[in-house]
């Protein structure tokens, strides 16, 4: 009992330190470039948390994520531009709309399983992307939407400066992390994991597998859509590219590098890979040459990503090891999982 409390304290201290670092970061005057990179990484991290829920905890690899991200972005942009809604109304509305769309997608797509599900969702992503491209009258077609308004001021706080926007995004990120943390540690979260580990067993225990899958997919879509709407307000120009499958693959890379089925994974992976992308700018084409093998090496040797590796290194007690095991999809028997 004592040792458990002790662990609790240590990690608290650590997370507090990270939080403080995140809050004082702009005050260190790192220059707008660093703030831009970190803000963008935070936005992507929110979307990766969505993917983490559906792939990491639920074991359903959805490749429609960029489509949902794009849907959220266009929804928020159109709500603020065409209906003159406030940012504070548009973001939740766009997120909910994305979740609603996901509900209907989920209804159909979860009828399929395994690779069929993966390819089915990939096709859904492609369809969303194509519709955004072709539906000129609403989405601006290939031209995209220009001049999306900045976040509406909240009383005396305006979000004109980059620093203010950084804090705004940070708050949304913390909200996401908090909700995810509570969710995966709740009964619902454990239900998700049990379905991932064995659908048959979960069903035998009386769990409604279909209902839970759809729930996870909707929650994931909610946050992905939210990330999209933040992106729209931050970059203030969106084109159909933000819903292309390549962005889904990037989300996947961030998630795997950080570590799926962990709360720290998405943010660690996104920051690390964004940093790596930026710092390897000088490599240009060689950069992509590195990313492919990196992806393969990660799934081969670090299926749980960097966070998983650190947990593995850190955990020595039998209690921890078994905990790590139960979260490790590479240990599941072939044929299960996805």
């Amino acid at each position: 009992m004592l040792s458990k409390n002790q662990k609790f304290k240590w990690s608290w201290l650590f997370y507090l330190a990270v939080l403080i670092l995140a809050f004082i970061f702009p005050a260190l005057n790192p220059g707008s470039y660093y703030i831009q990179v970190v803000s963008l990484a935070f936005i992507y991290a929110i979307a990766v948390y969505g993917l983490n829920l559906i792939e990491g905890y639920m074991g359903q690899l959805s490749l429609a994520q960029a489509g949902l991200f794009g849907f959220g972005a266009y929804a928020a942009a159109l709500l603020t531009m065409k209906l003159q809604l406030s940012f504070w109304l548009a973001v939740p509305l766009a997120s909910v709309l994305t979740a609603v769309v996901a509900f209907f997608i989920g209804l159909i797509s979860f009828r399929t399983r395994g690779h069929y599900f993966v390819i089915f969702t990939l096709c859904i992503g492609v369809i969303i992307n194509l519709v955004i491209q072709k539906w000129d009258a609403v989405t601006g077609g290939m031209n995209g939407l220009i001049g999306i308004p900045k976040p509406t001021p909240l009383g005396p706080i305006s979000f004109d400066s980059l620093k203010a926007q950084y804090y705004l995004i940070l708050v949304f990120l913390l909200l996401t992390v908090f909700v995810m943390y509570r969710l995966v540690n709740s009964l619902i979260g454990r239900t998700f994991v049990s379905i991932r580990n064995s659908e048959e067993l979960a069903a035998a225990l009386g769990i409604n597998v279909m209902k839970n899958k759809i729930l996870a997919f909707c929650v994931a879509a909610f946050f992905t859509g939210m990330a999209g709407s933040l992106y729209a307000a931050f970059i203030r120009f969106i084109g159909p590219d933000i819903s292309s499958p390549t962005l889904t693959f990037e989300f996947l890379l961030y998630l795997l590098a950080g570590g799926q089925a962990s709360i720290a994974g998405p943010i660690v992976g996104t920051l690390l890979m964004s940093g790596l992308t930026e710092s390897l700018q000088f490599l240009r084409d060689y950069r992509l040459l590195l990313f492919g093998p990196l992806l393969i090496l990660i799934v081969k040797f670090l299926p749980m990503g960097i966070v998983g590796l650190i947990h593995k290194l850190a955990s020595r007690s039998p209690f921890r090891r078994s905990a790590a095991k139960s979260l490790n999809p590479s240990k599941t028997v072939k044929g299960e999982g996805l």
């Binding site: 040792s3 662990k7 990690s11 491209q133 590219d241 940093g275 710092s279 390897l280 650190i310």
Partner: protein, 401 residues
């Protein structure tokens, strides 16, 4: 207890890893902004565009021209502003054609490299950069090389567009094509924003000249694997002339396919294609009756001759129109800086650039006339029609003010 601290240490390593990657990495190109070589100071010129991904070739084409201009200026001793010598250094960042990466690159070039001028070669990146290029903290002159008329349309005070808007081309092209082939036009524009706008401009120019449009068949030149079904469909409307809105080589394949299916009429190419590259895919006889930009190397003015010779010596290949754009843009910028007496204030530099025009000597391949109040440079370009397997006489394309 040991175990706990170990865990703590490993968590620290994790944070350390992330932070190091950022601090060491991001600043890689945060080079010596004002580092000196001899007595001359260095001014960084930013560039963001596609260097990987599907549009990489287009990015490299424009960047080559910019690098050549900077090398020429530097080897001539740089520029002199207020008695101080300055040379240039190009800092090029890859944005894979994505607006958010253009924005990130723009921030980096403006703050880390203190670049007073940032080049960009696509509309999406331009819109993203126009959100903050006039910010008081790190303003920079956005030098756009795109013939998309949209880039100059948003009233941004620090945007310089160094290419004629393509809207100047459809009218003279229509006249030429109609005279030779007839009044029926079919369009196969690209589905890109640029291609769509081109198609619309072409349609209105054609109908204004008294012609009729038999059909529009937008095609994704980048994802379509086989163009044959589009060609069949377009030919079934019996056009006299076909407009093609894609990049050079796909255009070439469409022309070849159309000839093989028995089409005898003319073609109009948008300025994304260059005739000399089209001719790599299809024979010159099949190209008879094709109208488009006069290949740079076919023009005979002294400025062109000089540019082509220098480019061939440097890169070992014949330059196309796309290679020349950022070359002359950069020349204007350098002269503008000298005139303005500033290498840091983008507003003054733009004013200086307006004052040094027109440039009609052989230092640039095309005649550069003026810069209007939207920041759009007015250039004199030339079109041509291929006949008898050879490039015809150039005719001038003058943009409306």
């Amino acid at each position: 207890m040991l175990r706990k601290s170990k865990r703590y240490v490993s968590l620290l390593i994790m944070v350390f890893l992330v932070v190091t990657v950022f601090v060491s990495g991001c600043g890689q190109s945060a080079a010596t902004g004002q580092g000196s070589s001899g007595t001359a100071k260095v001014v960084n010129i930013g560039w963001t565009g596609p260097l990987s991904g599907g549009a990489a070739q287009f990015g490299k084409d424009t960047l080559d021209g910019l690098n050549m201009a900077v090398d020429e200026i530097n080897s001539a001793g740089g520029i002199t502003v207020n008695g101080q010598k300055y040379t240039f250094k190009v800092v090029a960042l890859d944005d894979q054609y994505k607006p958010d990466m253009s924005a990130t690159n723009g921030r980096r070039l403006a703050t880390q490299d203190k670049a007073p001028v940032i080049f960009v070669n696509h509309a999406g990146g331009t819109y993203a950069l126009q959100q903050f290029n006039t910010d008081s903290s790190n303003p920079f002159l956005l030098a756009v090389h795109s013939s998309d008329p949209g880039v100059a349309a948003h009233g941004n005070k620090l945007t310089f567009v160094g290419a004629d808007p393509f809207t100047a081309q459809p009218d003279p092209y229509s006249k030429q094509a109609m005279q030779k082939f007839g009044k029926k036009l079919a369009l196969i524009p690209a589905v890109t924003p640029y291609g769509q706008d081109w198609g619309k401009a072409m349609t209105s120019a054609w109908t204004n000249n008294g012609g009729t449009v038999t059909g529009t068949f937008p095609m994704d030149y980048n994802t379509e694997t086989d163009y044959a079904s589009y060609v069949t469909k377009a030919l079934s409307t019996n056009p006299d002339v076909i407009f093609l809105g894609g990049p050079s080589q796909p255009d070439g394949l469409v022309i070849k396919e159309a000839r093989q299916q028995g089409f005898k009429g003319g073609f109009i190419l948008c300025d994304q294609a260059s005739m000399e590259d089209v001719a790599k895919v299809v024979s010159m006889t099949d190209l008879n009756g094709t109208i488009g930009f006069m290949p740079l190397s076919q023009l005979s003015s002294p400025g062109v001759k000089k540019f082509v010779a220098a480019f061939e010596a440097k890169y070992n290949r014949v330059p196309t129109f796309h290679n020349s754009g950022m070359y002359y843009d950069m020349k204007v910028i350098a002269k503008g800086m000298e005139k303005a007496g500033s290498v840091t204030d983008p507003a003054k530099i733009l004013t200086g650039m307006k004052q040094v025009l027109p440039i009609t000597d052989d230092s640039v391949p095309y005649q550069l006339n003026s810069i209007n109040d939207k920041g759009q440079m007015i250039i004199g370009l030339y079109g041509t029609m291929i006949s008898n397997g050879k490039y015809g006489q150039p005719f001038s394309i003058t943009p409306q003010q």
